[in-house]
């Protein structure tokens, strides 16, 4: 499990380029922050009103007035700015955040994403996810390829309520990387340790295989 997550995070990391403004979703995406190399300068946005998230504070130095969107205490980097929620989402919805990396429950071959609600379970709310998937320059979803029961989370059609329709640009799982473009879902990479056969077996969605597929086995 730790290994799977490692490959997902490392692959997602490659999408983060120097100079980008990036929003990392709550949960697994947040873990990417620690892996960003020092020579890759990015500004991490937190939709509660901060551009320039830093590390977690040292013990005893947490400030209740300084949290991220996951409500964790954080610090800021030099060059950070604070703003209100309307400004924060003007930034997100106006296309000024280059990249959003979010967790997912299901992704469909049409690039639909479901990641906020399981009918019959406790309602929690979508928070800023619906805004991020529509507004960010690129939306990358990271998630396990199959659920606890071994069922594919990469579906023909999402069975859960959608967060956004046709919003996923790239899906990174523990088995593969898919890109969505021009109404096509395309397998572009196979993760270390996985095989094309395994990806095909564990994917409900129909997808094309990219000519330049890497790690083809």
């Amino acid at each position: 499990m730790a290994g799977k997550r490692h490959f997902i995070l490392e692959r997602a990391l490659k999408e983060i380029k120097d100079g980008m403004n990036v929003n990392l979703g709550i949960g697994m995406p947040t873990l990417i922050a620690d892996r960003i190399p020092e020579d890759v300068h990015v500004m991490l946005q937190s939709e509660n009103g901060l551009l320039g998230i830093g590390a977690y504070p040292k013990e005893g130095e947490a400030d209740p007035d300084l949290i991220n969107a996951g409500k964790e205490t954080v610090t800021v980097v030099p060059g950070a700015s604070y703003f209100d929620s309307a400004e924060s989402f003007a930034m997100i919805r106006g296309g000024h955040i280059d990249l959003a990396i979010l967790g997912g429950m299901e992704v469909s071959e049409e690039g639909d994403l479901a990641n906020w609600m399981i009918p019959g379970k406790m309602i929690k709310g979508m928070g800023g996810a619906m805004d991020l998937v529509q507004g960010a320059g690129r939306t990358i979803v990271i998630m396990d390829h199959v659920n606890k029961h071994g069922e594919s989370k990469v579906k023909k059609r999402c069975s859960l309520p959608l967060t956004g329709q046709g919003v996923v640009d790239c899906l990174i799982t523990d088995l593969a990387v898919f890109q969505f473009k021009d109404d096509e879902m395309r397998l572009v990479e196979i993760q270390p340790g996985a095989t094309l056969h395994e990806v095909q077996n564990k994917t409900e969605a129909d997808f094309l295989i990219d000519d330049g597929l890497t790690s083809y086995q």
Binding site: S46, E47, N48, G49, L50, A55, Y56, P57, K58, E59, G60, E61, A62, D63, P64, D65, L66, I67, N68, G70, K71, E72, T73, V74, Y82, F83, D84, S85, A86, S88, F89, A90, I92, R93, D112, M122, I123, K124, G125, M126, G127, G128, A129, M130, D131, Q134, G135, P161, L162, T163, G164, Q165, G166
Partner: protein
Amino acid sequence: MSKVISSVEDAVSEIHDGATLIAGGFGLCGIPEKLILALRESGVKNLTVVSNNCGVDDWGLGLLLKTKQIKKMIASYVGENKLFEQQYLNGELEVELVPQGTLAERLRAGGAGIPAFYTATGVGTDIARGKEHKVFNGRTYIMEKGITGDFAFVKAWKADPYGNLIYRKTARNFNPVAARAGKTTIAEVEQLVGIGELDPDRIHTPGVYVRYVFEGKNYEKRIEKLTTVKA
């Protein structure tokens, strides 16, 4: 033209049963903690509350769930609250879930005299059901409406007697949009300074939006998720 009040109870006494109340804050950060406590004491019922979250079971807006003062909640995320779930499942509490950016923009619009606007957020999801759809430059958007409230509760760091407000760090969040969208906006602050002591270039919320200012003492400022690294 001082707007300073010496007790929150006085300000809260204007709030009537069935009122719509907008509250600033994100999680437990930047919440109007004194005003919420005073509202609980007032016993006012059947409130419609607009706020990004609904506090936790024993703090913030969660306190008003315990006393069953909230009839309807408009929020983007309510996942930290067991009472909330219970009352919702019992049918005691109405809930309208709104995407966070749409909520912020609806409040900003309400305060700015904009009755409605279009956004791509929520297109193709349950949120879009029953809403007007319109295509601009080949992309589909839905219409969302402005929100105003009878009252708004705002928490700021500093204020002057005219009600000019300055927030601190991410405690700003929904407070400025709440301040604009409230017909009667009540601000509680950590520090009240004299008129003219705030740099006019630094003011986040001009006093025109604020009806009452209250200086609170001994803020609890609870932390929801303390995350630290070893020193």
